[in-house]
Amino acid sequence: MAPTEIRQVLASHPFLEGLPEKYIEMLSKLAFEVSFDQDEVIFREGDPSSLFYLILSGKVALEMAAPGRQIIIQTLDAGDELGWSSLLENTSKQFRARCLEPVRALAFDGARVAALCEEDHEFGYHIMRRALELVAERLRATRFQVLDVYSPKGARGR
């Protein structure tokens, strides 16, 4: 992908919507295109967090090993972000990320983005605010999910 195309793709990605152009420019210099085949594992539970991805196409499953089985706990699609924990220091992946469909994404070295956030606090504010919104949204969804609202116990009789 050419640098101009990377800038355009970043500017139109929902995660970076509204980010000032100078920061899009900064990020575009760190971004590189990656692609994965169907069923390819992007990272495994326990891997060190190094890259984060903005998904451009395809579908990724976040999976967790439960006793006796592997379950999908969330799926991510085009427009979603994968691997936000790489923006934090000394973290490891909590899930396995596996492609349910061929995936194209832009990848970033989380440590380099975090270093830029330290150097330029305004840039850091924009990135961390977006990361916080993302984490809050996923926390809301997880709380809703653990309520198990569709279980037969809570079923509508009619």
Binding site: E63, I72, I73, G79, A141, V149, Y150, R156, G157
Partner: protein, 285 residues
């Protein structure tokens, strides 16, 4: 006395179950079944509006409110989708063709299909809540030119709990129609979405101002879904929910299903969100 006597006379027809013969019982999932019933003499069934419900009576066991889940244009049978969760529902889903049950109704308000004409329709269903919405989907598909886009979002506990799977897939292939299903927990063989139904909203392609939303499912799901749609720019006056309470008479006499100033069986089950919003957050109302 005369007032009481006339009230009793008025009550009798709606309180009297009409015999109906089970025509078919179809297993939808491990615990959910679809029944079709018909009047014993082959008479046409009473017409119903999408969103309405009947009171189904298993003689000697009990009576329950069950939403009609079939096509309103079909006049020789009524269709109900029932999850077996208790004694009466178990008895209903284990009836055999030819056996008789009692039916009262149809009762209640319906989905705002007239108000939605000229607009896009967003259907949001959770669990067995797809059943009361299916007649609305049939009706929209029958009068497809009257509506813009049709989006059907459906959340379920797991892939094995998804209702009407083949039909759902077929809806998704129709022009100007988007049908997306998601489950809370998927096994590794599941290739669809995983996450709560509200996570599908970001994948919807429609203009909020031009959209009417119809939501049915567990109350907590409807509350979150309605809030999220409002946050995404859908006016509350264009959001409708189907509520459920402990309905007994089905006709607004007994008060068992009271929700604030409303009797759900009579003023509902379909309400505009703005009508019931103040009561959704109240504990144990």
């Amino acid at each position: 006395m005369s007032t009481l006597a006339s009230t009793a006379a008025e009550c009798r027809p709606v309180m009297q179950p009409v015999p109906a013969v089970i025509r078919s019982v179809t297993k939808e999932t491990h615990d959910t079944f679809t029944l079709t019933v018909a009047p014993p003499q082959g008479d046409p069934v009473t017409a119903f509006e999408p969103g309405q419900f009947s009171m189904l009576y298993v003689f000697g066991v009990g009576e329950l409110p069950i939403s009609i889940s079939g096509d309103p244009a079909v006049r020789d049978t009524l269709t109900y989708t029932i999850r077996s969760v208790g004694q009466v529902t178990y008895q209903l889903v284990t009836r055999r063709p030819g056996e008789c049950i009692g039916v009262r109704g149809p009762f209640g308000t319906s989905w705002p299909l007239k108000e939605a004409r000229g607009k896009s329709v967003l259907i949001v269903a959770g669990g067995i809540g797809l059943a009361p919405l299916r007649p609305a989907i049939y009706s929209i598909l029958r009068h497809r030119g009257d509506y813009n886009r049709l989006v059907i979002l459906y959340g379920s506990r797991s892939p094995r709990d998804l209702l009407y799977r083949k039909e759902f897939e077929a809806w998704g292939l129709l022009p100007d129609t988007q049908a997306l299903a998601t489950v809370d927990y998927g096994g590794v063989s599941w290739r669809g979405h995983v996450g709560v139904v509200t996570t599908l909203f970001r994948l919807v392609r429609m203009q909020p101002q031009d959209t009417v939303a119809m939501i049915c499912g567990p109350e907590i799901m409807m509350r979150y879904a309605a809030r999220e749609l409002e946050a995404r720019g859908l006016p509350p006056s264009q959001i409708y929910l189907s509520m459920e309470r402990n309905m007994k008479c089905g006709a607004g006499f007994c008060g068992h299903c009271q929700l604030g100033p409303y009797f759900v069986c009579k003023h509902g089950p379909v309400f505009a969100y703005r009508e019931v919003k103040p009561y959704l957050d109240l504990y144990e109302l």
